[in-house]
Symmetry: D2
Subunit: 275 residues, 4 copies
């Protein structure tokens, strides 16, 4: 981990949102410490620690990653919060529209995000933007203003906040404290950095990734190499792959040049022998 | 459990909502079965089974209650869904506004629910209703209609559903399958049947209570007696209580008339001796 | 699902153990039902249901699999129970050595399981068996008999069961009810069917696999194809793979013969384009 | 929180065990911080912070307590570990008898813990000790020595560690890292500080209580007042209590002297009005 003062722990997200790392417990060395209680003792070199973390990651020995904990303060539109909260293995304290007045802050997309429904992907937006994006945006903005105006007027009548807020839109901003361990955070990132995740939550996932890779650089790199940028081939795909492979395996030195450790070269050969 | 055909497994909630028990696994006898694996063997009489369930409930031996599982189909406004989802120990599949168009259904309160902010309770509504409730309601209804109209027009431009929906209000209905075990459901009910829970989620909690008391009548009665209608006195309150108590304890027969079992009479005396 | 009466729901495991499916809720159709609430409506054909389940599995849309629940009765040695219990997302009621006397049943390995420590794998046994396996086994058996004898004598002195049992060995059998949803059960199976899992727990995982593939045959097949027998290649391994691949991709008909659906052929090409 | 250097963060437990707080995140102020995001803004005085924490505790607003996290290193006999691990909402990395040799350390009770089975309590020990406690202990010790001797001899044959250990007893020591949030830790303490919890795990719970009350003194005091030393009276018990209460309620000043805050006095009167 770098010098703590040089870390960038807060990123703006969308128009009014942010992610800020408020506190954390542990770093790469905590993963090693926890793993060593299971797998063996004694101080080891940095390179052995890196190798251990990478071994744990690629073999799904996930529990040592649970020993690092992060607490974020996040401001986000309600529709993003609704996707986010589905990750259950986290602790949350959210701003309450029953106790407090909701803020006059609403998410308005950038014009280039007003995309047509994807034709390939039933859940998402495609590449092309709609016509008249700026007209649509100004209309959306007016609606948001009118809804907040109406909310304010309802509050002025003395109506209970918990009722007055029910016609506020999903674009309204909320905020929360969100605490999660590294293993479950990697799972969140895996799903929310993915290209099919909704753009708006991906922005937050990217900010979180930038923050935590400063705290746990070795674990984050392992996560990228073995999970995020790995590809899983199904049983049938492996059979198809077999048809494509007709060359001799390159020598170990060549494989080592590609960044495979001795142990990974052996694992790679085992994987190929199963195809 | 009564004859399955006589059970009422669905209740309407609010204006467009419902709770419907889709499937379940186990009943009172499953709680006993699981407890007996821990506490001892052999077939026992019904009265012993009832006593065992009540013993487990009042002594926080909660794991046998986890052996009963319920699956509900629920239709509910989004602001209710946002409170509900905070109960993390459940399985959920929700209707997705990314895949499908949101329905033209919005929660509009009954006039007598348009209450003033409570002066006692920072989070809720009080007893008095606002002036001009019917005007307010017709205005809220118009807003809901206008918002759905705008949503439909945005979809007509081809805008991706996941963006078109962001100005839909929290009063819009969603639906989900929700699966939970009895122990965690009791915890949900304890919090959501409580007088400080928002009225709209309480309606759903009451419907769920009516449904499950048909499936697990003995456990539900124990839950009412030992949790829902019990009162916990703090250390200082117990000292205050002591000042109020100056009579002789009534004879055991009198206590038995109040419904206390022999074991409970003993437990009651132990509690009093601690005051 | 086959006719319920033809199902084999109990398997013997090791010398005194067993796995028995006591109850369950849902089957392949419940996965589809839950998914359709998110992804769209209407009755679909069986082949579409199968395609949907397989789509969910390979895209990590895991929540619909949580809608199926299984309850097992298991008898198992304590050292196996200690590994098993690490899977936290399950409900458990275990036989208690505080309430009840432990049984005179101890796991004694088959002679061919008395293997030497693996030289490759720090955690497991290798292929070769030790010398004098039968002598070792008879000595282990004597120890187990002596320990149970001592336990019985301690109980005869009136010593509390919770203390008398502390010198009983990890080979002693215990039993429990274990309830888990299908998604988390697949995760259990993925880890415990794996060749590095200890042989004794693998026996139980195999029995569970045989049981549930009768209840959720389509989901189980998808689990085998996309998870259990899939191989994940890391970023560096993908670069190595690239060096091996020099042929033209076979025509789609050939890929279809290998069992890849139209959608999977497209996904396969996308994967290859990323290499 | 006191000066960090004055804290006592490690306690010996039983003969070879210990609990050591390795790391933590947050303290009383983190609970307040998380609650304020829900309930309102602005800096508040210490006395208001204390009142807020106490309010949260007695009204089951448990989520802010989840924002504090503790990581312990614990050494404990296996039979204690088996009870402890049942608390599922924690992260654990345990020493592995598959990877490493088990230590020559076994729990031997103090003579005064060799108690007779309780006649009142099916699960525990009573007050009286058995006859010949010292004979029994020396026999137990011999057994432990013999079992470790046998284990060493099996390892010497080259037998895989994962098999050699199966006749080691439940009194053998293991160790782990255990990470848990404050809310779930309070739940653990509530169950394991209780008089019916097995003596040996109670020793650990008491050590943990001593450690954390230095870190979160206000929250711990609230836990004692409202949970640990509170008494819950069931519906029927409340009816019995009514028969005992015939005095006028003392004046508010008297109640304040007992330590009840203004708000608690009001709550107390509400509780009495429900009796």
């Amino acid at each position: 981990m770098e010098n703590k003062d040089n870390l960038v722990l807060e990123y703006k997200c969308l128009d009014y949102g942010f992610v800020r790392l408020v506190d954390w417990m542990g770093d790469d060395s905590s993963i090693v410490q926890a793993a060593r209680v299971s797998y063996g003792k004694g101080t080891k070199s940095v390179s052995e620690d890196t190798a251990l973390i990478r071994y744990l990651m690629r073999n799904l020995h996930t529990s040592p990653f649970e020993m690092v904990e992060f607490k974020f303060h996040v401001k986000l539109p309600i529709f993003v919060a609704r996707q986010w909260i589905r990750h259950r293995t986290a602790n949350v304290n959210e701003y309450s529209g029953r106790y407090s007045e909701m803020p006059d802050e609403f998410y308005l997309p950038e014009p280039d995000q007003l995309r047509l429904q994807s034709t390939l992907n039933k859940q998402g937006r495609g590449e092309a933007t709609i016509d008249n994006a700026s007209d649509v945006l100004s209309r959306m903005k007016q609606t948001q203003e009118r809804l907040f105006q109406e909310y304010s007027e309802l509050l002025a009548t003395g109506l209970a906040r918990e009722i007055a807020r029910i016609n506020l839109p999903l674009s309204n901003y909320t905020e929360w404290y969100w605490k999660i361990d590294l293993h479950n955070l990697f799972h969140f990132l895996r799903l929310r950095l993915e290209s099919h995740a909704q753009y708006e939550i991906r922005i937050y996932a990217e900010a979180i990734a930038k923050i935590i890779k400063q705290i746990v650089p070795i674990a984050y790199k392992a996560f990228e190499d073995y999970i995020l940028e790995a590809i899983r081939f199904s049983r049938n795909e492996l059979n198809a792959l077999k048809l494509l492979i007709n060359k001799e395996l390159p020598p170990d030195e060549k494989l080592a040049e590609l960044g495979l450790s001795k142990r990974e070269i052996q694992e790679f050969k085992e994987k190929l022998s199963k195809i």
